[in-house]
Amino acid sequence: MIDNTAAIDVRGLRKRYGDVQAVDGVTFEVARGEFYGILGPNGAGKTTTLELVEGLRQPDEGSAHLLGEPSWPRSKRLLRRIGVQLQASAFFEKLTAREQIHTFAALYGASRERADAMLDTVGLTEKRDVRDDKLSGGQAQRLSIACALVHDPELVFLDEPTTGLDPQARRNLWDLLRGINSTGRTVVLTTHYMDEAELLCDRVAIMDAGRILRVGPPADLIRELGANNLEDVFLQLTGREYRE
């Protein structure tokens, strides 16, 4: 089946909270099968942008189409085709890893066998009877990614999946994320780690103060701006250090 519509088509998104213009005219497109990164410091508007794109909030202006369908208002048909990882803590109270993913599988009409297979994919089969609050940070992240993938979505959103993990756990997770993308899924990742974006993403959008400053493959951005790495790119674009 050939579908030529973009995986994500976002035009002129704006969102204001009181006096704060959280998202100020964001436009971008993500192709099918692409690994797309949204980069920026805390407060840059990444999370709000993602929430508008996913259809969690109504934009003040602009539109977001996912897989050819508008994400607002909420459409169950579209939601079946996308997978969302919000945060590692988005689990039900006092359920084991296996019960968590079975619950999510049921919400999407996926089978228990598929859920168990997904648990295996993220390497949590041995931890399946452990409750969510007893999992390590990396294990919880992997479980939440497995829950986002349990219904085999075409488009996956991952919100800062490696935040708070130690270097080894981050590297393990990168392998998992590459694997998800290599099966043809479109992956959108927000992060504030430059090295992560450089390694994983086909293209990155660099955000600051609610706007997208520059979009392109990491290597091109580095070459154009004569920078050593994405961290320098950010410094050049915004005139300030990346880390707060």
Binding site: E54, G55, L56, R74, K76, R77, L79, R80, I82, V84, L86, Q87, S89, A90, F91, F92, E93, K94, L95, E99, H102, T103, F104, A106, L107, Y108, G109, R112
Partner: protein
């Protein structure tokens, strides 16, 4: 598994694994029921007690049938030491001391409890007069005929079972709905569910279904305990009307929980607010003691509390032979309360805790 069943299952497991919640919503009210049941078991048979010093002919020669009848109202202890007997009367351990001296029956009582003193005097006077009449050998001119009527007064267990049950249901339903809302918001499960292909109706009906099921479990366990012969609750014909009543009560307490959950930003704030609302409501609604003597303005406050109406109507249908006429208006009122409070909660609702 369908989304509804799996969400219900997830909520039920989460509840059953929360030992603190199960203790406070089920075990603790049951402990109070058992405690109150034991404490107030003999409340209605408060017999007077006297000490008999030495031989007292009028008591010792009483025919067996009359002595048995007297024992229903009077406990008679025997001793040889008059001083000690009087000391016991002074200290209030017994109500009176009696002895015979030169053909006179001497009775000494304490005026501390006038009603008890009166009872003891009356009983002893009738014993003495009966003995006098018997001594004359004449037939009695007047006779007192007595018979028992059916007892419709409220026994302690009949009062405490509906009251404590209502309180347990109020705690269970309000805490569960408030904590679901606060924790799901904090853990972003609310948003996660919004991004899953399930309708809000499915999520809400799963929450209501689990709460109703838990309330019915509370009813079943409470009635099973209270109707044990030891506690002696007698259910009246329409006791099953307690089920629809409890269902409506559960909904109204869930709406209180929703309101608090919509307002509270943290588990601690929700817990505090629930305690502040549920405990005074339970006291004013007569869950722990009768509220007949409450000042007028407090009764007016209690009239607006769903638990007050639930308790009264539960008592009506469980143990006082009440029927649809008692239950229906209360159900309607509880549902109205639910609608109003839920509407307010919906206006306060936020997706995020920040």
């Amino acid at each position: 598994m369908s989304a509804f069943r799996s969400l219900s299952w997830a909520m039920a497991l989460g509840l059953l694994r929360d030992r603190t919640a199960v203790f406070f919503m089920l075990i603790f009210p049951l402990m109070l029921l058992a405690l109150f049941g034991v404490l107030f078991q003999n409340e209605s048979t408060s017999r007077s007690a006297i000490v008999q010093v030495g031989d007292v002919a009028v008591l010792d020669d009483l025919p067996e049938a009359e002595f048995a009848a007297l024992s229903d109202a009077l406990t008679i202890e025997k001793t040889a030491d008059r001083e000690r007997a009087l000391e016991e009367v002074r200290e209030g351990d017994v109500d009176a001391a009696v002895w015979e001296e030169d053909g006179r029956v001497q009775l000494r009582y304490s005026a501390a409890d006038a009603a008890r003193a009166g009872t003891v005097q009356g009983l002893m006077r009738s014993v003495v007069q009966g003995a006098n009449l018997a001594a004359t050998g004449l037939p009695a001119t007047y006779e007192l005929a007595t018979d028992q009527v059916e007892d419709k007064s409220v026994k302690a267990i009949q009062y405490f079972t509906p009251g404590l049950l209502g309180w347990a249901i109020a705690m269970g339903a309000s805490f569960m709905s408030a904590f679901t809302l606060v924790q799901w918001r904090r853990k972003r499960i609310l948003r996660r569910l919004w991004l899953a292909p399930v309708g809000p109706g499915t999520v809400i009906s799963a929450r209501i279904g689990v709460s109703l099921a838990f309330s019915f479990v509370q009813v079943a366990i409470f009635l099973a305990v209270a109707t044990m012969p030891y506690f002696g609750l007698k259910l009246t014909g329409n006791w099953w009307l307690s089920l629809p009543l409890v269902a409506c009560g559960t909904l109204s307490f869930m709406s209180i929980g929703l309101l608090i959950g919509a307002w509270a930003k943290s588990d601690e704030a929700a817990n505090g607010a629930l305690q502040v609302v549920i405990m005074p409501m339970a006291f004013l609604s007569g869950s722990f003691f009768p509220t007949g003597d409450m000042p007028g303005w407090l009764s007016t406050v209690a009239d607006f509390l769903p638990l007050a109406h639930l308790n009264t109507s539960l008592q009506d249908v469980l143990s006082r032979g009440g029927g649809w006429g008692d239950a229906l208006p209360v159900m309607g009122g509880l549902l109205l309360f639910t609608a109003v409070v839920t509407a307010v909660a919906a206006r306060l609702f936020r997706w995020d805790s920040t």
